[in-house]
């Protein structure tokens, strides 16, 4: 595990150092952005509407019963943008995109395509890792913005339609906007940026480290998803502590 973390840190440093070269690989970046962003948007929105909905469903009736109608919008709004949307969308993307990265790069490693790149003096980090990591770092915060909005709407729909809650659309969003400000959304976006880097780097690292044929590819895919989710949740705790300390 410590070796994996060390290799991951080295990969992160090399990727960061190669950042100025992205202009040479912008076409690959655009392809990856399309694959990660566009193709994951619908799934992220479906996930978000139900996250907002279930949150309203769990908290709404209790709060309304206690006479705290005006708090429901605030609770759903803050929970979605600061915690649930960044984490849940990151988990979704780790499963959908991180695994695909590990599988694609892993099969390239097994079938000597990466060796072929090296013999042509093409650095696999510049050619394969950089566009993927950068694309997920751009796409994930964008998906989280959509997820925030759709999550709030999901909460509003449940508040409006559930007879035990019965908070009108307008009142819900008024309450939400009194508490949730730009910094709260930014807080979630900073988290999602870190999670994106974790997903991209773990997926690429597992892909590059693949050995042993199709079975090795399967192992890398599983490890990429599990490691990314574990790292996301651990990082989430520490970044939340840090952001609270910084009063963000």
């Amino acid at each position: 595990m410590f070796r994996d973390i060390g290799q991951l840190a080295i990969l992160a440093w090399r990727t960061l150092r190669s950042l100025p070269l992205i202009f040479r690989h912008y076409r690959k970046l655009i392809d990856q952005l399309f694959e990660i962003g566009n193709a994951s948007l619908l799934m992220s929105c479906i996930l978000a509407v139900f996250i907002g909905g279930v949150l309203a469903l769990q908290t709404g009736p209790v709060m309304v019963e206690q006479g705290l109608n005006s708090v429901v919008g605030a609770v759903v709004g803050l929970s979605v943008c600061k915690e649930l949307a960044p984490v849940m969308i990151a988990v979704l993307i780790a499963g959908r995109i991180g695994s695909a990265m590990a599988a694609e790069i892993g099969s390239m490693a097994v079938y000597q395509e990466i060796d072929a790149l090296r013999t042509m003096n093409i650095n696999p980090i510049h050619y394969l890792v950089l566009p993927r990591v950068l694309a997920v770092c751009i796409a994930l915060p964008c998906l989280v913005v959509f997820a925030d909005l759709i999550g709030w709407v999901g909460g509003a729909l449940v508040c409006m339609s559930n007879p035990k809650i019965g908070i009108p659309w307008q009142a819900y969003f008024n309450d939400l906007s009194k508490v949730v400000d730009t910094l709260d959304v930014l807080n979630g976006l900073i988290k999602s940026l870190l999670f994106a880097a974790i997903i991209g780097l773990v997926g690429c690292h597992q892909g590059l480290a693949t050995i042993g044929g199709p079975r090795g590819i399967g192992r890398s895919v599983t490890k990429s998803v599990v490691n990314a989710i574990v790292l996301i949740l651990i990082t989430d705790y520490f970044i939340t502590r840090l952001l609270l300390t910084l009063d963000l």
Partner: protein, 258 residues
Amino acid sequence: MNESCTVESGRVCVEVSGLRKSFGTSEILKGIDFGIRCGEIFVIMGPSGSGKSVLLKHLIGLERPTAGSVRIDGHEIDSPELLSKYRIAMVFQSGALLSSLSVGENVGLYLREHRIHPPAEINRIVREKLAIVGLAGSEEKMPTELSGGMKKRVAIARALVMDPQLILYDEPTSELDPLISVTIGQEIVKMRERTHATSIVVTHDRDLGFGIADRIALISGGRILTLGTPDEVRACDNPEVRTFLNASYQPPEEADRT
């Protein structure tokens, strides 16, 4: 054979000394020493599992030796500037074409990534090199649509594009029928004529080895058994060499009698 060559002559020589490689407790290469002259076709032959492919990977820096060194024109193979200074191409056993790219994109990859020519010129070179290996008009095909022989010829075209000074072939005729094997062998000789590159061919195909080699090294069990011209190797009286060179299929009854 001209031994005193320089980088300007477009050819490079290779020197392997005391090369050892272990994976865990098993030692694959047990001290390999040889020199490859500039511009020659050097064939490394040996039975399966003798360490040929591992040796080849050391010659292009894809593996790090446990001990010993590989030098190209006096430069250590793992020195960072080596691949920038010399054009070294490798034709992999499987072809190792990038499956996400078309044939044309694969062949032009080196030129495109290093921005050596403008796109129109790259397309022209790609068409030209594909025509040389008999695959004109295949630019748009994907590697999955190609047969094993076609993939290898695309890999040769990809190597040709680099105008290499040193070219390495890993089992270029494995899994191919005898006719295509002959074509590939001819391509290797033609490649040397065109580029004057030093060629290293790893194979267990005796017909190919003796047909194209200037010199042959026969390795077994991680050691060199014999090294010399095809005639010298044929004349070698080492029993292991004789067994490898004389192995032929015998009908079961005849094998029982012997």
